[in-house]
Symmetry: C2
Subunit: 251 residues, 2 copies
């Protein structure tokens, strides 16, 4: 079986020769998951490491009081389980379910541990990946304290747009509003109301269609309460795309 084409573009394997990469990927098997199917549950023993090839997986947890919160929605190219494995944890820290029909590469967890010892490049790539993710998580946490719901929603829409390489002048939300609200840590009602109210700040949302109409209005509304102004990659990317009549993708 030939490996999915996505592996050649994965940052995880950057710096490895195509041969070494293929040899590594050999150890994995392709797995397909239906929508709403669960990959594993919170507390399950950590058996595998996954690389997402297509579709989307949500990571979530629930509190004893019944509240469910979505930590992240992963898409093609993202990986699952590396965190637990690298910490030598024995159980998964989240539940994982498919949000769409999904294919992924499945490796035994020992595979990751051993090969990150064997291949210098792999462990350095992991390190970069963790560092970047840590940064993003920290920034989002900060936003939860310093930004209003509307500002957070806008940030998220920008992120979605860039991550999926959508056209900022009009695109469809890739997930249900319920899921997005949960991902943002707010109630569906709040999210819904917010979507209509950000029209005044340059973003038009109608149904599941989003359209960045006035990026300058967005900027004045959001950036005053964001401490990473110069570095908010997503926002800059969208601005650039709108200026250049679209479609310069971000590194």
């Amino acid at each position: 079986m030939t490996s999915p084409k996505i592996v050649s573009t994965l940052p995880l394997f950057k710096g490895l020769s195509p041969e070494a990469r293929d040899a590594l990927v050999q150890a994995g098997r392709i797995r397909r998951i239906e929508i709403d199917e669960r990959l594993f549950s919170y507390g399950d023993p950590v058996k595998n490491f996954y690389v997402l090839c297509s579709g989307a997986i949500k990571l979530y947890r629930q509190t004893p009081n019944g509240h469910e919160t979505t930590a992240e929605v992963l898409i093609a190219g993202d990986t699952i389980g590396e965190n637990e494995i690298m910490q030598s944890l024995t159980s998964y820290q989240y539940s994982a379910s498919a949000v769409k029909e999904t294919t992924l590469l499945e490796f035994p967890s020992s595979w990751l541990k051993e090969n990150s010892k064997k291949h210098q490049e792999l462990s350095l790539n992991l390190l970069t990946l963790f560092a970047r993710r840590l940064n993003m998580t920290a920034i989002e946490a900060e936003h939860k304290s310093t930004m209003s719901a509307a500002q957070q929603v806008i940030c998220f829409l920008e992120k979605i747009c860039v991550l999926h390489d959508f056209d900022p002048r009009g695109f469809e939300l890739p997930y249900s509003k319920t899921l997005i609200a949960s991902r943002l840590g707010m109630e569906l009602e709040t999210f819904s109301r917010t979507l209509s109210r950000i029209r005044e700040h340059g973003i038009l949302v109608k149904g599941t269609t989003v359209c960045f109409q006035d990026i300058d209005a967005v900027e004045t509304f959001v950036c005053g309460d964001c401490s990473v102004s110069g570095n908010c990659l997503e926002h800059q990317a969208i601005k650039a795309r709108l200026k250049n009549g679209q479609s310069i993708s971000v590194a």
Copy 2:
């Protein structure tokens, strides 16, 4: 000059022979910082990697609107700059100031990058460290969405208590309330009011003295809204200490 004793206990150097470790540490110089002195500012070029030997450093940022938020307060054993260096960022993502008189080891940033390539153990230790930190950050972010201010404050007090190895039956806050409030992403007034109100939930705070009086009351108040109940190490640790009449430290 002999290396500070703390380096022998650093998780960062775990698995390295004492000789290799000492050789590595040779490249660093000891630096002392006065209270309120700034180590670097947001946006400064990333010149150094630091290991904290004593004291405390706060990492913070401010929004264009003037709001300042503290991302973390680092203490002995913590490290600074690894995140930027491992992402090959050229400027610091936070400002860093001393909260107490502080000593640290200063390395050129290239030192970390090169040695994490040279020493397998070092990069694996970094990987573990990042993974763990990512987890903690994610959990705190989740708490910001699912927990009330009171619950968050309690979690933080527990964390402080365990991290500094204080006696849960009575200890002094190691930082000013202003700093802690900022670290928790809430207003000083909210924090102050909250401290008096958590008395009803088993924690007595008077001035800067904190005392865990009824850990079961704390548990019923907090754990219903925490999704990591089984894994909330700090809480378990405090419970254990109170049960065993104090002083079993956590791994």
